[in-house]
């Protein structure tokens, strides 16, 4: 069976800077994969090659068996949910209009869009009365919930998320992360999430891919990754959340 996302030998250069130096990666349907790495490691660039926001200089991108280069990028993007840190809600549209945007572009009938928006608000745990509000009237957490609902509106099977919860306060972030993981299960999504937070990656993802200087340096389930990696940098990265948890426990004392 074909993978949901197949990347082969992806290269991308910005002037003299090499962002991606030949990356190959296959993501299976239903997988929740975290792309981890320091800033400048190429993780965001890699994510954007999948929905055509970045065109690779070399290599092939296949999404659900189809070559990304073989179709107009806007048609490809309507089949893929995209959530990013800045959210990018359209300020001149209401919450409901924001959520309805991709179905509208796809030409859905209005009597199909209305119920879909209502269902999505419920899915991302927002009260139905926010539908008519402007994005500026919402809190940061509520806005990103709208961002997730908008990405899910046209029933994509694949979700690309770029530091989706990075700008939120820790409590909201934790709650939203857990809620999204639940959605991933319920809807049978394939999720690829960029994060620089290893704890978030370990807690949410089935699989962690570590990038460094445009190359994949580690790839596997969180537990087995820690067991088998020999790269000291990757090891340090993976152990960071554990060390943090130990230090927290020492400072706060054992929980009762």
């Amino acid at each position: 069976m074909a993978g949901a996302i197949e990347l082969t030998g992806i290269e991308k250069r910005y002037g003299g800077h090499v962002a991606l130096a030949g990356v190959s990666l296959a993501v299976q349907p239903g997988e929740f994969t975290a792309l981890v790495g320091g800033s400048g490691s190429g993780k965001t660039t890699l994510l954007k090659t999948i929905n055509g926001l970045v065109t690779p200089d070399a290599g092939e991108v296949r999404v659900q068996g189809e070559g990304a280069a073989d179709q107009p990028p806007h048609l490809l993007r309507r089949k893929i949910g995209y959530v990013f840190q800045e959210i990018g809600l359209f300020p001149h549209l209401s919450v409901a209009e924001n959520i309805a945007i991709t179905p509208k572009l796809l030409g859905w009938a209005p009597d199909r869009i209305g119920p879909r928006v209502a269902a999505l608000l419920e899915l991302v745990a927002l009260p139905s009365e926010v539908a008519g509000r402007a994005p500026s009237e919402l809190s940061g957490g509520q806005r990103q919930r709208v961002g997730v609902a908008r990405a899910l509106a046209a029933e994509p099977k694949i979700m690309l998320m770029d530091e989706p919860f990075g700008a939120l306060d820790p409590l909201t972030r934790d709650q939203l992360g857990a809620d999204y993981r639940g959605l991933h299960e319920r809807l049978g999504l394939t999720t690829l999430m960029v994060t620089h937070d290893m704890a978030e990656a370990v807690l949410l993802a089935d699989r962690i891919v570590v990038l460094s200087a445009g190359r994949i340096v580690a790839d596997g389930r969180p537990a087995e990754l820690l067991a088998k990696t020999t790269d000291p940098e990757v090891r340090a990265l993976l152990e960071a959340p554990k060390r943090q948890a130990d230090r927290l426990r020492a400072k706060l004392g054992e929980a009762p």
């Binding site: 806007h74 993007r77 945007i101 991709t102």
Partner: protein, 516 residues
């Protein structure tokens, strides 16, 4: 005062109608051209610089010059189109004004438009791509709606500029609120000047407020406000245009006038005689000297009064001076042969250029002729009207007498006399039929070498009206009837400070005095 205010009010429907029609058309055209250009400029960095720099460059051209420049350009294009497709178009009036004002309105719309589209948050553009919009959908559904308030602010600026600059379309023959200002300046009718300024300012304020409503609607995303603003604009324009519907019937005569009192009076006199014959008459006033003749030759005006010396030097490019009668005869033959223009005849008086001084100053310096003047000129200041120094007559006088002044200053004719009586100028280039010469007891410096050509006032008829019986019947009786004394008195009644008459009143008085 009340009579003048009443006269100003009576002209308002026509002037305002044209002003609104002109500025609204220019603004609409400006928006229609600038918006796509702004979008293109925001998309392509390579296009951005030349487009914005070009618009800025146009803005640095004084608006009056921009308007004036379109006349010769259109004239050439019209001649070309006449040759190529057998049809010309009017080069005077609405078209040059519309084009110049359109160009003038573009900069604020372009600049605000490009800046506003470029200013849309990068995250929102990325989201538009991310949800699967095409570049076109992103432009129309996201970028333009978000840029709309800033674009509207640019349109407001453009509207205020356009309405202000439209007053300058009067000298290229387009009626506007500027007619109050130009005519008022010439005849020192300050009520007219202020009325014109106030009307154009009020119009600009109203348009600005209504466009402000549209802008607020775009900012607050309130369809009601936007529609209210647009409806207000539409109703305002429609109301202003209503009086024009009954105006400009085909078959009416167009009488031209240059920009000074004598011209207004004589144009009124011709108009009154035509109206007495039952004809409807339109006026094109405040035309530049060269513009007036070409407009007549092109048939855009039907008749006006010009001066033999002006035509001799400017149109026939002659520098010699064979004398008063030969000049008139050769003109009549040459203009007919060259352009088909009919010189109906001399009105009977001359309005020549004359060097004029205050009597005390002339006596003190022992100046009676231009030869005496040449002797003292290196210590004197010449005040002239706006065109004298660039005219061939000035070169002829310079050549004949070796005239060279210490300083030369140009004034509107009215202010030129003020400069002479006030002492800022020692000698001025006046007109011999000017009533102020006698009224102020000024001395005319004689021209023993006859360097200055004769300036008989002649009635000119356009080629297409050459056989028009009604026009000829109305104007022919004026030939040879107007004495220089009668003309000076009529001019003075309009130009003096006290008990001023309007040009129409002066024309009526002149007509009665001459029994026309």
């Amino acid at each position: 005062m009340n009579a003048r205010l009443a006269a100003a009010w009576a002209l308002l429907p026509e002037y305002l109608g044209w002003h609104v029609l002109l500025s609204a058309s220019a603004l609409l055209l400006g928006v229609a051209i600038s918006l796509p250009l702004a979008v293109a400029a925001s998309r392509s960095a390579r296009l951005r610089w030349p487009v914005l720099a070009g618009a800025s460059l146009i803005q640095t051209i004084p608006s009056l010059a921009l308007l004036a420049l379109f006349y010769p350009v259109l004239l050439a294009v019209s001649a070309l189109s006449l040759r190529l497709v057998g049809r010309g178009f009017p080069a005077l009036g609405f078209l040059p004004s519309l084009l110049a004002l359109t160009l003038y309105s573009m900069l604020p719309i372009l600049r605000n438009g490009a800046a506003a589209i470029l200013g849309v948050d990068r995250a929102i553009r990325e989201a538009a791509d991310g949800v699967g919009m095409t570049p076109r959908q992103s432009l129309f559904q996201v970028e333009l709606p978000l840029a709309a308030p800033v674009i509207m602010a640019g349109v407001r600026t453009a509207a205020v500029w356009t309405i202000g600059a439209a007053t300058l379309s009067t000298p290229v023959g387009q009626t506007s609120l500027g007619n109050y200002i130009f005519a008022g300046l010439q005849t020192e009718n300050w009520v007219f000047v202020l009325f014109g300024c106030a009307a154009s300012a009020a119009l600009a304020l109203i348009a600005d407020q209504l466009l402000g409503l549209v802008e607020a609607g775009a900012r607050k995303r309130s369809r009601g406000l936007t529609l209210a603003g647009l409806a207000g604009l539409a109703v305002g324009v429609a109301l202003a245009l209503l009086p024009l519907a009954s105006f400009g019937k085909p078959g009416s005569y167009v009488i031209g006038a240059k920009n000074f009192s004598e011209q207004y009076i004589l144009a009124d006199l011709m108009a009154q005689r035509l109206q007495a014959e039952g004809a409807s008459v339109q006026r094109k006033e405040d035309l530049g000297s060269a513009v007036a003749y070409r407009a007549l030759a092109a048939g855009e005006i039907d008749a006006y009064v010009d001066y033999s010396g002006t035509l001799w030097t400017n149109v026939l490019q002659r520098a010699d001076n064979p004398g008063r009668k030969p000049v008139l005869d050769q003109l009549t033959a040459e203009l007919k042969r060259r352009d088909g223009v009919v010189v109906l005849g001399s009105l009977g008086f001359e309005n020549a250029y004359a060097f004029v001084m205050r009597p005390d100053r002339a006596a003190a310096l022992h100046i009676a002729s231009i030869a005496d003047l040449a002797r003292e000129a290196p210590h004197l200041t010449l005040g002239s009207d706006l065109e004298f120094l660039s005219r061939p007559e000035w070169k002829a006088v310079q050549a004949a007498y070796g005239l060279a002044f210490k300083t030369q200053r140009s004034y509107q004719p009215t202010f030129m006399y003020r400069a002479l009586t006030g002492g800022e100028a020692d000698v001025i280039s006046a007109f011999s039929s000017d009533g102020r010469i006698a009224a102020d007891h000024l001395v005319v410096v004689s021209d023993p070498k006859a360097a200055i050509q004769p300036y008989d006032a002649v009635v000119l008829i356009s080629p297409k009206r050459a056989q028009d019986a009604r026009l000829l019947a109305a104007l022919k009786p004026m030939i040879g009837k107007v004495s220089v004394e009668a003309m000076r008195e009529a001019n003075l009644s309009v130009d003096r400070d006290q008990r001023k008459a309007t040009p129409a009143e002066a024309a009526t008085a002149l007509r009665k005095r001459l029994g026309l």
